[in-house]
Symmetry: C2
Subunit: 593 residues, 2 copies
């Protein structure tokens, strides 16, 4: 067992240039075949697979040992690289093979419960239970390396731009971010709890107050929320903050970062400056604050054209201050049956839409779900808004603005997907800027911050804070890739008077302000630089750039919704002594169940 | 407020080469003096301080604004660099000053509760309460940057050596490391708890099983232990693991890392290979498994010389299987009064020592606390063991081996410190290897693993696992700098039979083994490479290399023992709703207090 063969190469790095070389490889047996006097093995390490040949030129005990090999045995092999007679085009190393001279078996293996191959169609639960086997797959190792490379390039960039990497604490006071905190009982203060950070927001702002000037961190963050394909309760954020900057400064340096990232990681050149869409324009044109601009189907307003029509649905929407908008699926008339359209209509109920109007423009005549309400002339007027031509299919939604935008934003992307128009090799990066500072809650009749209460308003809008807060735009920005938000941030308020004004508009009492944010306000008393920053979701970034559709593919040890889960990750019952020290007890109602 | 002057330079980077240049600086006012028609300000950013001059060549409103400046105001200044008439040798930028032409005040400041200067002698509590002000100090910003640089060089090295950075989970099953876990109540499984990792040990071994081959991570780890100057409950570990390696392979690559680290971070060339001390030798010569070799005072055994003496204390120690050992403080006779020696004797009581024998060798006569028990000839025989010469001071301890080693190990370093022999510019790096695999518990009469039960024994010692487990040496290694452990690790057991044998020796039942380590053993069934690794304490590494004496100086937001602590870090009381969801309640006995 002590005898470890000193590796000279990784399996996947060998090629025809190595022919004739003596090599030592370490790895796992992918498979073994004994063809009489010849034994063929596929040897695997994280870089790839190579064929090993044992023939009768080697000592019998080595040959016999080779004959005992089974899948997933771990071995060291010394041998000579040779050209392969029957080349294997499916294998990167398929031009060569290694004639073994020595063999050490480091470890035997039982038959593994899942196959070690990318296309093993095993259940998610089994993959996660045997994650250490699942990670042996070539694709999974490539994903781990890819993630590493993104982190590496990210750090290199921010290092070179004068950002200081600072580690912020993990056991903190519950944060005001809004999602559910993970709590950690304090032993020193029994009955009290730390929280795990939802983000380092407070700390990075304090670092700016402390003169650290430029900060970044690949920060672990926690939100106790249910799992989704693109969300884990613990996640990693590329987090940064800069002093003495305004929106343009932050965007400029991020574009430099993204340019480097795409070049070095993807071998893709992106053109900067990236397009910037004011929030209002993104909504008007794409029905989304994360527009996917890889295809058209832009929204058009029909408010002017259809007002005072006899169609009740449109009239009511407009009368209630709502909207009538639509999209034109060019050449879509033939591609969507009545049934397909019903399904789309069903789907947008999720956003609150009560119906979906459709118009198919034919060569001879135009058919529509609302033909009877409009004259052919009016119908022409409507389709002209979309530059409609024969073969086109127009969808219209009439409702409150939010419902109209959400429904049409969903439809345009969903339909583009169905029509195969989402090109994975195209990277449409863009900024959405000028978000509203506040969201209005219809029911409560109050405003709440769209991001967080430290986001700075645009200076030219400050005068509307009292008179028309809904119109005030924020110095906030999101970076969007192909319809998915990669990250976002804002310039923060560093002026105490403006901050006070914000809390006033939010109708937050001094008591609430002090208990939630008193610490930061106190810090701001002693000289605060203008500052702002950004955070990218690293997990999502890796997922998008690797074309994976689940975050689980890019995290080594993901969490699992179901009970089946790696034992090393499952929660378990605490001992009486532990609970005693922490000053807590399990509620009877639960333990008794 | 919108108007941010675009920085051209950092304050501390300006020098005589910039004379005549127009520059824009952003920063904090360190101080301001108005000398009639001239206003002098010191402007500070994280790189340093520079003098700014406002004179009457500038518009009156700018001059008046400058006159309103107070300490810690945050400003932007545009001006021209000029040679300074009265140069300030205490300031890096003391040869120059900047004649201001424009001034923007970004933020006013109240008088800060602590001074922003390195030698502000304020209490630790106040420093931690106003940490964002404390971090404005030049020294603290340099420490943050220094820490960043160490992380950077570390990552660059392991990146270049084919290690994959993998993030391991933070919410895991309680680990078998032995220290107290921080628990995190699970909402999905009320009444159950996650633990925060004490180290990623299990996960890095699983990564080796998964074929990741070489792994590293700057990992956040947690131990719910009380604070000490060199320990925080949350800390960062440079954690790594390699497959297909034995002790020499791990040490070789670590020496390459340390060489690069010391060169790039300290500008110090270290000579490799580093010395390796077997544990037994380290104890015999230095009384410590973390020997500081910057000075002598090596331990010598008197067991042979004093056996069968008439001195009861020595006799008893030897009869009980103990030891009589001592150290010689060359030329120390004159430097330690009777009172000093009493203090040393008091200090080693902490290690269980009952007494401290001393011998002072004079020109004419030798005096000692035990003169009356030994003939001059015997005394000469004793001092000869130490090559004693006139002026020397010898200390002897007789007791159980552990007490003798601990006491003398402490004395030699403590005395070297008192004599000013701990040279901070010398970096004595060394390995301690061949640790015992087990520790024997006298009282319980059982063996326990010295590191953890996955540490591999040395192969040539395996035959003693049954017959003489105390003699079995481990494939474990610690890296030591100037008497402080920087890190440590081991080659792990990857053979299931050997692992089973280990548990047998440790008298662990199958039930305990399965509940604690069953998961890893299961993983080992499916093909496990030989593997081993190491972890360095990053916080301690930064502390040692920056010559700081407390870990708080190298962590941005440290924890504090006392109640005074940054509000953003203090635990607090959870809401009824939160407790309800988590299925726990606060114990009445505590809340009622």
């Amino acid at each position: 067992m002590d005898n470890i063969l000193k590796r000279t190469h990784m399996c996947g790095t060998l090629n025809a240039n190595n022919i004739g070389e003596k090599v030592v490889l370490n790895g796992w047996i992918q498979k073994r075949r004994n063809l009489g006097g010849l034994i063929f093995c596929d040897l695997r390490d994280k870089t790839g697979i190579i064929q090993i040949v044992f023939n009768d030129n080697i000592p019998k005990e080595v040959f016999d040992k080779a004959d005992s090999l089974r899948s997933e045995y771990v071995v060291g092999i010394a041998g000579v690289v040779a050209e392969r007679e029957s080349k294997n085009k499916d294998l990167a190393t398929g031009d060569i093979e290694v004639f073994a001279e020595d063999l050490v078996i480091y470890s035997e293996a039982e038959t593994p419960p899942i196959y070690i191959k990318d296309d093993d169609e095993v259940s998610d639960n089994l993959r996660l239970k045997y994650r250490y086997l699942d990670l042996r797959k070539g694709k999974m190792q490539r994903n781990l390396s890819f993630r590493h490379k993104i982190s590496k390039v990210t750090r290199e960039f921010f290092d070179s731009e004068g950002f200081t990497e600072v580690e912020t604490p993990m056991l903190i006071k519950p944060t005001p971010e809004g999602a559910r905190d993970y709590l950690v009982p304090s032993r020193v203060n029994p009955g009290q709890f730390y929280a795990l950070p939802q983000s380092p927001q407070m700390f990075k702002q304090l670092l700016m107050v402390s003169g650290t000037d430029r900060y970044y961190q690949l920060a672990k963050c926690f939100r106790d929320e249910d799992l989704r394909a693109d969300r884990q309760p613990e996640f990693t954020q590329i987090d940064l903050e800069m002093s003495f900057v305004d929106v343009d400064d932050v965007i400029e340096i991020q574009e430099k970062y993204l340019k480097k990232l795409f070049r070095e990681v993807m071998n893709v050149e992106i053109t900067t400056p990236l397009p910037r869409y004011p929030y209002a324009e993104a909504m008007e044109r794409f029905g989304s604050d994360k527009p996917d601009t890889r295809f058209g189907f832009e929204l058009k307003s029909l408010n002017d054209v259809v007002k005072n029509s006899d169609f009740q649905v449109f009239d009511n929407a407009l009368a209630a201050g709502g909207d009538v908008r639509g999209i034109n699926i060019d050449g879509g008339a033939e591609k969507f049956s009545r049934k397909d359209i019903d399904k789309l209509q069903e789907a947008i109920k999720h956003f609150g839409a009560k119906g979906l109007v459709w118009i198919k423009i034919g060569e001879a005549e135009t058919t529509s779900s609302v033909s009877k309400f409009f004259t052919p002339e009016k119908m022409k007027e409507i389709t002209d808004v979309f530059n409609g031509k024969p073969g086109d299919l127009i969808f219209i939604v009439a409702d409150k603005a939010k419902i109209v935008f959400d429904s049409l934003g969903f439809l345009r992307r969903d339909i583009a997907g169905k029509l195969g128009m989402l090109d994975d090799s195209q990277y449409n990066l863009l900024w959405v800027v000028d978000f509203p500072l506040f969201e209005y809650d219809d029911e409560a009749g109050t405003y709440s911050p769209m991001h967080h209460p430290f986001t700075s308003p645009r200076l030219e809008d400050v005068h509307m804070l009292d008179s028309d807060p809904g119109k005030v735009r924020a110095k906030a920005y999101d970076i969007v890739l192909n319809g998915v938000e990669l990250g976002g941030g804002s310039i923060r308020i560093h002026d105490r008077n403006l901050q006070r004004k914000m809390f006033e508009v939010l109708k937050m009492s001094d008591e609430v302000v002090n208990s939630k944010f008193g610490f930061l306000l106190e810090a701001f008393k002693y000289g605060t630089p203008p500052h702002g920053g950004l955070a990218y979701g690293l997990d999502r970034l890796v997922m998008l750039l690797s074309w994976e559709h689940s975050i689980r593919e890019v995290i080594a040890f993901p969490k699992n919704q179901s009970a089946v889960c790696m034992v090393s990750e499952a929660p378990s019952v605490a001992s009486e002594e532990q609970l005693e020290e922490l000053g807590i007890q399990i509620k009877k109602s639960i333990t008794d169940q």
